[in-house]
Every structure is written in C-alpha cells, then in structure tokens.
Symmetry: D2
Subunit: 282 residues, 4 copies
C-alpha cells in the first residue's frame, strides 16, 4: 500500500526503476498514469489551482504579466492554458521535443530559461526534475519576480542556494517569503519551493473524488485478482476501470453518454460496454 500511494504523487518512475532492477517485491499499480488521474489531478486541477494559489498568496493581477512555465507536461499545459486565458504572456521551457512542439502549436514561445529570466514577472516550475531554477537564474530575476513550484516535492527550485549569508529572508505572510539581495532586490518565493497547489490552494472535491476512486478500485483489483494475474511488476490501471471511474462522475455534470448500437460495436470491434480505447490511448 505504501508503494501504491507513492505512485499517485508522480513518482512512478522510481517504481519502474525498482522493477527494472528486479527489486520490486510486490505487484504495483501505476495509478498516476491512468487517464482520469493524469487529466484531473494534473491537467484540470492544476489549471485552476495555479490561479487560486497565486491569488491567495500574492493577489497578483495576471493580465499583461510575463510568465515562464518550466515544463509542458500535463501540469504545465494546465498552468499555461489558465494563465494565457487570463491575459498573461507565457513562455515555456522544455527538454522533450514532443512536448516542446505541442507548446509551439498551442501558441507559446519555447525558450531557454536564461533567455527570458530578466524580463519575467513569474516563474513556475512543473518539470518533476531537480534544480530547474538555480541561483544563476535567481540572481538575474527582476525585483518583485514571483517564484513557485507546481511540479513535485521541493527539488525544482535550488533552495539551498538561497540559504546563504548575503541573502535576507523576510516572511511577509503565510507561505510567502521575500528573499532580499544585498542591493535590495526582492524575490517573492512561495511555499518555500514546495508544491503551491498543495500548500496554498485547495483541491476541489471532484478531483479528490476521482483520485480516491481510482486508488480504491486499483486496491480492490490488486486484492481480489486471481493468483498470478499480477506479478512483481508495475501495471497501468486496466482501461475498463479507468472508464468506470469516469462514468461515475458524469452525473454531476448532467452529462448524457451515447450508447453504441450492436451494429456500431461490431463495426468498431469492441464491446458495447467498453473498454472503448486501447490501453495506451490518453
């Protein structure tokens, strides 16, 4: 169960490493990469919580602000969409050419952080990586620049580099620190580099419901599966369960699903009751 829970907070790659190394001693289900979890906990939830978290902590106006979002995965996509819609000018950094090309097509300039760091009002990390924003970037930010992390744990901003003698820290309200340079420049650091969405905004009940349902179904499946269905490996949630989680949440939107006719199901070569897509479909 411990292992299982880890998976929901985007650390599933650790499990795949364990599995590869032959060190995984129980079956594990990668709930994080189920479609509903990915889309709701990451894309849709972060789309709203970036706005919520920034407003509650800084009261910043988004219109006209220049923002750089590091990482264009599901979380980055959500952050970019919300900020663009509210009138910000958004830049994206990426290491993965596929995500970078998507950012281009969605209307974002893809640049290296150093190219825009002097001009931006906001820096948001969503990479799942470490030291994405380093001291060399922090030194070049302009006065008043807001820095926060939407990615994972607290590794994305190189915090240690800010805990030095020449920089002064001032807590201005809960979760908001001013880090003050010798020349008086202030950087607004949120949640000490921990996750903004968990620290400074709330998670809507719908998202919790979807994530919890997914986890519960995965546990039930692991527990009740016939001997041998799952080995000491990492599994994706079976598509049909993923679809079931989604279907349980449709009534809250008064959404009416269309049913396949027998003829249509036959044409598509699938059951009328799903799964409707191959397992790799997102």
């Amino acid at each position: 169960l411990g292992v299982f829970l880890l998976l929901t907070v985007c650390l599933c790659f650790r499990l795949y490493q364990l599995s590869k190394a032959g060190k995984l001693c129980v079956p594990a289900m990668n709930v994080n990469d189920s479609v509903t979890k990915q889309k709701f906990d990451n894309l849709y939830c972060c789309k709203e919580s970036i706005v919520d978290g920034l407003k509650r902590t800084t009261d910043v106006m988004f219109g006209g602000k220049q923002v750089v979002v590091c990482g264009y995965g599901e979380v980055g996509k959500g952050c970019c969409a919300a900020l663009k819609a509210l009138g910000a000018v958004v830049y994206v950094t990426e290491v993965d050419p596929i995500c970078a090309l998507q950012a281009c097509m969605d209307g974002f300039r893809v640049i290296k952080l150093s190219e825009v760091i002097r001009q931006v009002d906001l820096v948001i990390t969503c990479t799942g990586n470490k030291n994405v924003v380093g001291r060399e970037h922090l030194d070049r930010m302009k006065n008043g620049c807001i820095v926060c992390n939407m990615g994972h744990s607290s590794t994305e901003i190189e915090l240690a580099s800010l805990r030095t003698a020449e920089l002064r820290w001032e807590r201005v309200r809960p979760h908001v620190d001013h880090v003050i340079w010798p020349d008086g420049k202030r950087i607004v650091l949120l949640a000490e580099g921990r996750l903004l969405n968990l620290s400074c905004s709330t998670v809507p009940s719908l998202v919790l419901s979807i994530t919890a349902t997914t986890q519960a179904l995965a546990l039930i499946e692991l527990y009740s599966a016939p001997e041998g269905r799952y080995k000491q490996d990492v599994y994706l949630l079976p598509k049909k369960m993923d679809e079931f989680v989604a279907s349980l949440h449709l009534p809250t939107f008064d959404a009416h699903l269309t049913e396949l006719s027998d003829e249509q199901a036959k044409y598509l070569g699938i059951s009328k009751h799903g799964p409707f897509k191959p397992n790799y479909y997102r």
Copy 2:
C-alpha cells in the same frame, strides 16, 4: 507497405483485429498512434481545417452558431476548441466516459444527439464510427443545418438514407449539396459525407512534413531492424523516433530546447538524449 499506409488513416484497429486473429502476416507499425501523428494530423490540423473547410464551402459565420460535435477524440477536441474560440456554442456526444468527462471539464455540454438535433446550426462527426447521424436525426434538423464529416471514410453520416425518392438533391457549388425535403427544408451536406478536411480544405505543409517523416522513419526502422526485433504483430513507433520527428520540426518555430544536465538526467533515471517519457505517454 500497403498495410503500413492504412495505419496512418486511423484504421489501425483493423490491424489489431488481424493481429489478434493471428492473421497478420507481416510486422506492422501503428504510425497513427505515435504522439506526433496523433497530435498534428488529428488535433492541431483538424483544429484549423474544420474552420477552413466550413468557410470555403459555406461562408458560414461561427459567432453565435450552435454546433454539435459527435466524438471527443483528438479530432473532436480540435474541432471543439476552434469553434468555441470563434464564438460558437458547442455540444458534444460521446460513447466513452473518459472522453465525455474531458469534454465536461473543457466546458462542453455532453448530450445525446437527439437532445439538441432540432436546434443546432451545424453537425460535425468525428467518431470513426458508422451511422452516427442517421435519417431520424436528419429528419429533425432545422432548415439550413450544415452537416459534415471530419472522422474517417464516409460511413459516419448515413448517406444511403438520403438517396431516396422523396428527397431532392441540388448541387449548389463544388462539395456542397442541398438535400431538400418535401416541405422545402434544406440540409446543407458537405463533400457528400466524405472527409471535409481532405475534400474541402488544404493540409498545411507542416502537418504533411510531420506525417511523412514519421512514416519514413517507421519504414526505415522496419526495413533495417535486426532479424527478430519485429514479429508478425502491431507496434507503436519507438518513443525515441517520435521525439526525433518532433525535434526536426522545432527550428521552424525558432524553438530552443533545454538540455538536461548530467545530474538531472541521473535524477530522472533517463538518458540526456531521450527517450524522455515512457512509451504510453501522450
């Protein structure tokens, strides 16, 4: 090669059927479901070609129009995003609860076709299915309603049901037919139910370049792979090739990729040169 080409026109599920039935006699690569193909040929291209195709054929104004889009896969997502952005009120029909829930979260009412068929100005099919719009729907559409297909082949609209004695057809310009009911009601049918994006709009050179590159790389891989790498089965394009296709197209957008440091690559447990994501990542 014949088999291979089929895959790029969204018919890959036929191949999986063959494979399941043990009837696939060559290795096949499902190029259609590579990320770059899916996103560019389906999502990004259709987002633009629905607008283009409708304007060229009908000169319709989108602002204020009520539209129903059948299917919220990549093609449907692209059509909905473009039409919503240009001021249309968009409804969605879906059979798959995961896609339906995504439509909800993106701000579209999910309904059954029969619920809105009397009021809409435009019906667009993007399901990959057959007889999604049947005679019972066509009978209830209002005068002037435009009907078109963005999905696959020409099965989505039940054309045969319109080839009857009591309905009169009038060709008003290339690719545009008025089907006229005995009471004078006219339905505007585009491209005789064939693909609007192929019949009535152009495919941007960028999209062609991406699709062609993907196909060429897949062919080279199939041809030059060591004996035994590919069996008589259906394969997804290796992630690294998918990423390579994307990276070849970044310079056209003056996009600058960030490179992982050695330390970061180690932290993520991946190579600095990719692949950057698991194969199922979209």
Copy 3:
C-alpha cells in the same frame, strides 16, 4: 468631491438624473465611464476577481460547472470570459439587445433566468439593477447552488425574501452563508449579496493605481480649469487625460508605443500627441 467619488462606483446614472432635473449644483466628472476606468476597474479587474472571490470563499472547481451571468456589460463580459476560459458552461441574461447580441457572438446562450435556474451551479449578478434574482428563482435553484453579486451595492439579489422564518441561515465561513430550505436544500450565498469583488477578493494594485490616477487627474482638472469650462453638468474625462493615464501604466508591461510620423498625423488629421480617438470611442 462627495459627488465625484460616487461616480467611480458605477452610480453615475444618478448624477445624470440630477443634472436632467436641474438639481446638480456643482460640475461633476463621470470618471466611471472613462475608458481606462471602465476597462480596468470593470472588465479586466472583474475578469480576475470573479475567479479569485469564488475560489477563496467556496473552493469550487470551474471545469464543467453550469453558470448563469446576469448582465453582459463590462463586468459581465469579464466574468463570462474568465469562467468560459476555465471550462464552465456559461449562460447570459440581458435586457439590452446590443449587449445580448454581443453575448451571442462571444459564444454564450442568451436566455431568461427562469429557463436555466433549475440546472445551474452558480448564479452571478452583474446588472447594476435591483431584484434580478428573486425568491421565485431562489426557490427553484438546486441544492448547493452558489449565488453571488458582482454588480453594484447589494440590491441585485432580493435578500429580504430570504430573511423569512421558514429559511434557516448558517454561517459556514466568513462571507459564506448557507440558506437552508425546509426540505434541506442549501443555497450558498456569498457576502450576503454584497459585492463579491470588494468583499471576498483583493483589488490588484495596478487597478487601484489606474482608478486613483484617473480620479486625481479629474480633480486637478475640475480645480484648475478656467472659469466657465465646466458648468453644473456631468462631463466625461477629456480623452487626452484618459490617454495620459494609460500611458503612465505602459512601462510596467514593458510596452513600447509607436509614434506617428508627421505625415501620418496629418493624414489622420490629429496631433502626434493625441487625443487619438473621438471622445465616444471605447
């Protein structure tokens, strides 16, 4: 000065009434209808504060929610744009056919409140009118419906009708009341019907700066104008001052204005230094 300040809180029509009735005893400047005030205090500020105010009070997720916005003036336009962008399905009510037609073209269904009141999750008033949401509407809302006011003063929701014996009020957190019907239905009333943007969200410093600058310039103009320039009437802020207020705020966005050449100014028949538009231009 008292009179003058009133104008900035959208009550300028009272002044025009006084003026028409010959009862205005000082010159007055309608700062509320200057372009910068209208756009920033009303459109741009409300676009963000509707999101902010709702999140802080209710933690509601916007994706998929059905919302009715009463009134499509600047405030309504801002609210609708933000909520649509964050994935809500938005309906609009209007009394003015011009604003109604704009709502249509921007992709919103224009309906009477009674047509959607049973199905919506959120009701937002932005009319400047009174009793827009009456007891007959409140009685028909569904359980959990959120009701708030972004318009003016506290007249838009018929509060008195909720202060009756059969309804129970429960304060669940500051600015949030549950009004409980005998059958257990709960309506979530924000700020007791007062302005959500002033009660439950903050006003960004940029907006305050623009409004304060406009007011200060208007006061200086009224004070220093030569005898006889302003009579006992209501005036719009001279266009040139409006433009000056805007120009003072451009550097914060690193925006670079283009200068007219002599030849271009002559062609347009205006001064190189403005005013650039006729006074009625918005």
Copy 4:
C-alpha cells in the same frame, strides 16, 4: 447618400474634418461608429475573415506562427483574438496608449514594428493609417513572410516602394503575389495591399444584414426627421435605433431577452423599452 455611405467604410474622420471646417453641406450620420456596426462589421466579422482570408490565399497553418498585428482597434482586436485562439504568437503595435494598455491586458506584447520584424511569419495592418509597413520593414522581413492589410483602403502598406526595378513580382495565384528580392527572398503579398477581408474572404450574410439594416434605418431617420432635428453636422445613430437593429437579429440565435419590470425601469431611471445605455456606451 454618397457622404453617408463613406461613413460605413471607416472614413468618418474625413466627415468630422469637413464639419469642423464648416464645409459639410448636408446632415450626415456616422453609421460606422454605431455599436452594432463597430462590433459586427469590424470586431466580429474581422475575427473570422482574417482566418478565412489567410487560409484561402495561403493555406498557412496558424499554430506556432509569429504574427504582428499593427493597430489594436476593433479590427485589430478581432484579428488578435482569432489568431491567438488558433495558436499563433501575436505581437501588437499601437500609437494610442489606451488601446496599447488593452493589448497588454489581453496578453499581447506591445512592441515597435522594428523590434519583431525580422522574426515574424505574418504582418497584418489594421490601423486606418498610411505607410505603416514601409520599405525599411519589408527589407528586413524573413523569406516567406506574409503581408496583408485588414485596415482601410490600400494605404497601410507602402506599395509604391515595392514597385521598383530591383524587385521582381510573381503572381502565384489570384490575390497572391511573391515579391522577390535580388537575393531570392520572397515576401508573400496578399491582394496587392488592398483589404484582405473584402478581396479574399466573404462577408457573412449576418454582418451584411446588420450593416444594411443600420444604414437603412439611418437613411429613414435622416429623411423623415422633422425639419431642424439634424443640422449640417455629423451625428451618431440614435441609441434606440442601434438597439432596434440588434433586437431584429436576436431571433436568429434563439436568444431570449429579459424584460425590465416597472420597478426595475424606475430604479434605473430608464424606459422599459430602452434606450438602455447612454449614447457614448459601447
């Protein structure tokens, strides 16, 4: 009537010049600045026709393209909104600080043309001015850059500067010329600098209907007004007529207007049947 028609094609400032100079010898109505005309003919129509015109002439893909729009009036606002929605990165040039600040708040970088001219894929003029794009800009554009005019007449692009011996013109399809520099660089010039929306796209019937209704009502008003109501001056269309034009077009969207109660009309100090807004309201 001749004078009157001029007003509808954005040349009303000429009339105001005549009027100021005491040379206007008939009453004239500035139909161009009625709200319905401004919004429909300029904002909403151009929002769609920029997309339509560019697709029909060049088949360009918008996703990821860098675009500069010169002028952020109603036409510029429409063009920017459409292109941003379809995934372009849009820059704006402006001479008027109010419009410039609006562009900032809507998420567009406001720059001087020379700052971005080397990097953009598309240049669109919407200023109503002359020589906005001069030879010095054209010389610095990159190969393949598309240049077009959405503003007024054909003055915005300095065409004369391209009719010189060292540049070669090649007509590649109707309305599309390649202007070829000695080094082989090609600029794609649309409609020889004339209005793209009139030359290369169609005007939707709804827009024509609104404009024609507005003109017809203005003519009727001028013709049937009692002696002395209109002097040799320029007038805006009376608000009530503007509202009437809008109301005539609501049924096509199945839009349902709300009626003011007697009590509400009294509270607002207006008639139940309008006009609902002061004349300067847009």
